[in-house]
């Protein structure tokens, strides 16, 4: 038994004094250290369990969740955006999703509020704007876009055009949660109306091989060959074994072309992209297809995250845990 195993066993018996004592008797050389560790863990657990969110925030969050659940249920019932006709039906929303960001928080909680009718408030002025973000929901009220600092619902104009990054027209059904998008349109009062939607994709994974014009990527979505061009932007030095984020487009012939390849440093990559697809929200590292989990709820599909963590030793990667 290693010390780590003994520690884990002792921590597991922290609430069972008799069993803990019996166990410590079997590892006399480590008794002192283990007793201290158990003490620390008891103290830490007790203190941290006392930290709780405020009740107003809890209520607000619960209301937000229920609103989302209700909205998604409606979307599900209506089989969202199955056609362009459905897209134009999004024009009817009188509400807008705004972000309630806190002072230091980039991530925002979204609350649905009523927006006064535009009809009685004077003539809205059109203002050209581009919004870049990730789709978090598609619903009858519009498409919810999480940008880097906010979340909002946008309407799609009746003649909105959806394209990939090459300008090829794509079907409206491609617009789904998790999809990175660039929307071009204009503000009309408190609403943003998009008339052009560009879909963008991203992948996260480990570079398994490199060629002069491509890299091979092992990701949670599978293994891919991604072509690079002189226009491909690089952040960091890509090497075999690098954990990277690739912004890409899929050409009409199915090949993938990298627009940008960002090498994640060990610290950040370790934190940011394990199960990096397990979200559909404001992440700048959202997965390419939704990614609150589709194929990513498998703990073993992280594309080698363990390998980028020098802090850990996987030599004890066994199946036994705390019993």
């Amino acid at each position: 038994m290693t010390y780590q195993d003994a520690l884990d066993r002792a921590l597991g018996l922290a609430n069972h004094p008799a069993a803990l004592e019996a166990f410590l008797d079997t590892v006399p050389a480590w008794r002192g250290d283990l007793e201290q560790a158990v003490g620390v863990s008891r103290y830490l657990g007790r203190e941290l369990r006392a930290i709780a969110p405020g009740e107003p925030a809890r209520l607000r969050s619960q209301q937000q969740l229920m609103a989302t659940v209700s909205r998604m249920a409606t979307v599900q019932a209506e089989s969202p955006i199955a056609s362009a006709t459905k897209m134009s039906s999004l024009l009817t929303l009188p509400r807008i999703l705004i972000a309630g960001a806190t002072a230091g928080a980039l991530l925002a909680f979204a609350v649905v509020v009523d927006v006064p009718s535009l009809g009685g408030g004077g003539t809205p002025t059109a203002e050209a704007e581009v919004i870049e973000g990730s789709v978090s929901a598609v619903g009858p009220d519009g498409v919810t876009i999480n940008t880097s600092d906010a979340s909002r619902v946008v309407r799609l104009s009746s003649n909105a055009v959806l394209t990939d990054s090459f300008g090829n027209t794509v079907e409206a059904s491609k617009l789904s949660a998790g999809q990175d998008v660039v929307l071009k349109g204009s503000n009309s009062g408190n609403e943003f109306v998009a008339n052009q939607v560009e879909l963008r994709d991203r992948l996260f994974g480990v570079v398994t091989a490199m060629a002069s014009d491509s890299i091979h990527l092992s990701s949670s979505k599978g293994n891919f060959t991604i072509f690079v061009t002189p226009e491909t932007e690089f952040e960091g030095v890509v090497a075999v074994g690098s954990f990277v984020e690739v912004k890409l487009v899929r050409k009409s012939d199915g090949t993938l072309l990298a627009l940008e390849i960002e090498v994640e440093d060990e610290d950040e990559g370790d934190d940011d992209h394990e199960g990096g697809d397990d979200r559909s929200g404001p992440s700048e590292s959202s997965g390419p297809s939704g990614d609150t989990g589709d194929d990513d709820n498998d703990s073993n599909d992280d594309g080698g995250d363990d390998s980028v963590d020098d802090d850990v030793d996987d030599s004890h990667d066994d199946a036994d845990d705390d019993d």
Binding site: N15, P53, Q64, R279, D318, D323
Partner: protein
């Protein structure tokens, strides 16, 4: 083998307390014992009661995890709220393949927190003391030992492991699933995290806690 098979066996034998030795005897809701597939089916059908139960069971826990990493009360609340909104938006794409829903939920929270921290690092620096002056949580307990300062010395992974293991009482395998590492890696992170905390405490403090 399912990653939580060992825990499941214990629970099946009515030995939940042994499976969750650090749960402090907290009453487990039905969410914990309900069949996973049935739960996911209900969630995917946007069953409000199921979502409400999930929220009640995990909101505080997810908040706590985010708070320890961000040390910012309202940010942690936002992240916790966002986690559930993201989960509801994405539940239709969740497929149970051995990783329970709650692990998936924690992974969303963890990734949102990582995104927040990454974004914060890129923004103009605001001193922690200034932030804390504004955001000191009313519910944060006063402590004779500044354990949060000690926790700050842990890496993000160590913090996550410490919270999930020592506070929430998850098994090594479950924590491994949440953070996407091996059981051995989690064991190592736990070891280093606890060792760091021990080093931050004086011998007298540790001695006083040992019993």
């Amino acid at each position: 083998m399912l990653p939580f098979e060992d825990e499941s066996r214990l629970i099946a034998r009515g030995e939940r307390d042994l499976a969750r030795p650090w749960s402090g005897g907290a009453v487990e809701t039905s969410v914990d014992t309900v069949d996973e597939a049935a739960l996911v089916t209900r969630l995917a059908a946007f069953d409000a009661d199921a979502w409400s139960a999930i929220f009640d069971r995990y909101f505080t826990s997810i908040f706590r995890l985010a708070y320890v990493r961000t040390r910012h009360h309202s940010t942690a609340e936002d992240i916790a709220a966002q986690t559930f909104a993201e989960a509801a938006s994405g539940i239709r794409r969740y497929r149970y393949r051995g990783v329970p829903f709650r692990a998936w939920l924690y992974r969303i929270a963890r990734n949102l927190t990582s995104d927040h921290l990454k974004a914060e690092r890129r923004r103009p620096h605001v001193s922690l003391s200034e932030t804390q002056a504004i955001e000191t949580p009313a519910t944060e307990p006063e402590s004779r030992f500044d354990f949060l300062a000690a926790v700050d010395d842990l890496t993000d992974d160590q913090k996550t492991v410490v919270i999930l293991r020592l506070v929430e009482g998850y098994s090594l395998a479950e924590v491994a699933a949440i953070i996407g590492k091996s059981v051995g890696a989690v064991k190592q992170l736990q070891f280093r995290g606890v060792a760091t905390l021990q080093q931050r405490m004086s011998p007298d403090q540790v001695e006083g806690l040992g019993r």
